[in-house]
Symmetry: C2
Subunit: 195 residues, 2 copies
């Protein structure tokens, strides 16, 4: 299956288009390979020579979206150093990105959907966190294992996105960003009682 073969491109585009069409009327989990192929007018055998299952079609699309996110994130990060004062600049990009592709992230965070999409997002955000950390926190390396710190911080951000999703994206992105700044400016939310 040569990537540039016109037949291959046509097949994959038909399937992607059909998937987006079906997603308008039913959840991803309810879409079968058979139904997708019927709508796309693609032989089911052909489908299996391109994808393992319906999820893989969606995943390919999500990868494009996440790539868009990567660009959105990198931009402000490059021009500002990663301090709490301007973390706003990098994170607001995340929030705007998720809002932009709200329909997709609703699927990613769905109860019935496999964790793979979550991990895709997680790994992307974590890579950025790592780059940020490397520049400003080299001295922390021996105090905490960097891996744990990174996963802690990354997943914390994803926790905000999950909550945003659960609330139907009602909170404005700017407000969400403000929440994050406030949380980060706490010494530690757990240090209560003795301050």
């Amino acid at each position: 299956m040569l990537k540039h073969d016109l037949r291959v491109i046509k097949t994959q585009e038909s399937l992607r288009h059909a998937l987006l069409e079906l997603l308008k009327s039913k959840p991803l989990e309810a879409i079968s390979v058979a139904e997708l192929c019927r709508l796309a007018q693609i032989n089911r055998g052909t489908f299996y020579s391109h994808y393992k299952d319906v999820h893989e079609v969606f995943k390919r699309y999500l990868e494009v979206i996440v790539e868009d996110f990567r660009r959105a994130y990198e931009e402000p990060y490059i021009k500002t150093r990663f301090k709490i004062e301007n973390i706003s600049a990098s994170m607001i990009e995340i929030f705007h990105h998720v809002k932009k592709y709200q329909d997709f992230y609703q699927i990613v965070f769905d109860q019935r959907i496999p964790m793979m999409y979550y991990y895709l997002l997680f790994d992307t955000v974590r890579t950025f966190m790592k780059e940020s950390l490397a520049k400003s926190y080299i001295d922390a390396t021996d105090r905490v294992q960097v891996d744990y710190l990174l996963s802690y911080q990354t997943n914390a951000i994803l926790g905000l996105l999950m909550e945003w999703n659960r609330q139907g994206y009602m909170t404005p992105a700017e407000e969400l960003n403000k929440q994050l700044i406030t949380i980060l400016s706490f010494n530690s939310p757990f240090r209560g009682g003795d301050r």
Copy 2:
């Protein structure tokens, strides 16, 4: 299907037993309803009158495990106030619990498994976080929306568990707890560069 009917109990126990048996040799995603019923010697039609799919059998079991976690968590929390000095007491219980049921949490965190299990764990931890927060951080209510703070903190902890899982639970629970204490004692991991 009356819960106390001996036939019902026997059916459900057979299925649970068969599931645990099959899990020894293959991943959850590879277990079909048909195979499970064959091993449990239960009619497939009977299966569907109890469960929607294989995941529901596992989920019922996980709920028992999470209930065990609830007890483990509540114990130290009740006797100590929730300060950073003794957060260790509550969190170490989480780590010990996850370690104890390592085989199950490996499944929960698996790429192929639906998010539902993650949310089950998330909601449980979040409930405890909420109780902790209510006592020591009432004044924070208007600074950040409590929902976002809770989801941030809860998911951060789950981030540690995910990392632990990814590293095959090699880190000792005590070490993990020490990592957490260290992370929490940072003013903010993002405030670097200007301290």
